[in-house]
Symmetry: C2
């Protein structure tokens, strides 16, 4: 564990993300806009107070408030630690319904997934593909929220594939090659394997599961069906359950 994170005089905000454009000098940032409003009203930021900070896709550390005005605040930052290790996982999910998609993006970012493919499936309602959540900026917002929750900085990549068949035939075999390749599917499956730190490809179906045709195509692409026992989980419960079974605590 890293001792500096557990200094009791640091604000209990998990992490404030910083962007290159915030920097006025090598250790000097200025924050305005939404993040400033949030730090002022929710976290009651005061001069001298310290926060955990991290640069997007960069290092993490501590930042101390040096200037506080009505429009912005400034921090003196020391960024000297690596963010938490990523999961060696390529996660493929049938596109969830919008409300669940939001929470899923955040959870997936929090858990350390760096590569997410959102694909179509028979049981994915066509309307889900029209959701504004899939707009690049909104998608990114939810991923950033997930990173801030976890204390991570590395932004995941999200790929959208509206057509199941071309994805599974043309792209998935190469994605899955040389990885532990699995599809979570309760039927005709072996039990979820033990935790290892090896590169993994995991596909999770929609509520109700992939249909038989889809499971066969996924098998042809190299994915082996695995189950989680007799209980049927909702997708949003299955994600953390699967990820915490498949990977050890210390990667």
């Amino acid at each position: 564990m890293i001792g500096v994170f557990f200094n009791r005089s640091v604000s209990p905000v998990n992490l404030i993300l910083l962007y290159t454009s915030d920097f006025k000098g090598p250790h000097h940032v200025r924050i305005s806009g939404r993040r400033f409003q949030h730090m002022r009203s929710v976290h009651k930021a005061q001069v001298g107070e310290r926060f955990r900070v991290g640069v997007l896709n960069g290092l993490i550390g501590l930042g101390e408030v040096t200037v506080l005005t009505d429009q912005y605040l400034e921090l003196r930052v020391q960024l000297n630690q690596a963010p938490p290790k990523p999961l060696p996982l390529r996660l493929i999910m049938a596109l969830p319904r919008p409300k669940m998609l939001k929470r899923t993006l955040e959870t997936v970012a929090t858990l350390g997934v760096k590569e997410l493919w959102l694909i179509n499936s028979y049981r994915v309602d066509k309307s889900y593909w029209s959701t504004p959540i899939l707009h690049a900026d909104t998608l990114r917002e939810h991923l950033l929220l997930g990173l801030e929750q976890a204390g991570d900085t590395r932004l995941p990549n999200v790929y959208l594939r509206k057509r199941f068949k071309p994805f599974v035939e043309d792209e998935l075999p190469a994605i899955a090659r040389n990885t532990r390749a699995l599809v979570a599917h309760p039927y005709d499956a072996t039990p979820c394997p033990a935790a290892t730190a090896e590169p993994t490809t995991l596909a999770i179906g929609p509520e109700g599961g992939f249909i038989a045709y889809e499971v066969n195509k996924l098998r042809e692409a190299g994915l082996e069906p695995i189950h989680l026992g007799p209980r049927i989980l909702r997708v949003e419960t299955a994600v953390p359950v699967l990820l915490s079974r498949l990977f050890p605590l210390a990667l």
Copy 2:
């Protein structure tokens, strides 16, 4: 795995819960009201169609629609399987905020928890205790939803403790005795232990964690702090992550 569940001619509803009052004969039930409306409009129940069914706190099996009217339907049922094994877990949670409480009750029931204590904590807003979700009937509704999702029938018991100190001093030591007793807390903690099937007591704090005073009281009651690595998870993510790390797939 139990073959009968994977008969493709069975409706993909996870489970329909039955109550003793539904039974007109040993294998003959009549369903009206909300469950009937749901089966008719959402699942488009037809005569001859089969559903997975289970008696509350009893066996599970299949039911075939024999009669369908505008007011009710009737099933011929065979209840010949045990529900999924429960987790040998006493789960203690600081009361979540109402929206998260709803989902937590469902998730906890889905995952097989049978004993849930909802307790106070410094970081639990007093207003959370007034939520109508804590009314016995609403609480039960959410637990039943979780059971139907998982295909389980055994209703969990939920205990409410509005005062932290008396609970932790007077009740918790006996609850924790002779169990693997843990509190999920990211600071000054050992890594989450490996999966075993042994009786376990697990306490999970509010968003932001238990305060130091509370962690000390929990330690005094016999609970050992454990962590999940460097990532800070929201409570609703931490629950499935912890439960799937602490217990094996096959109990």
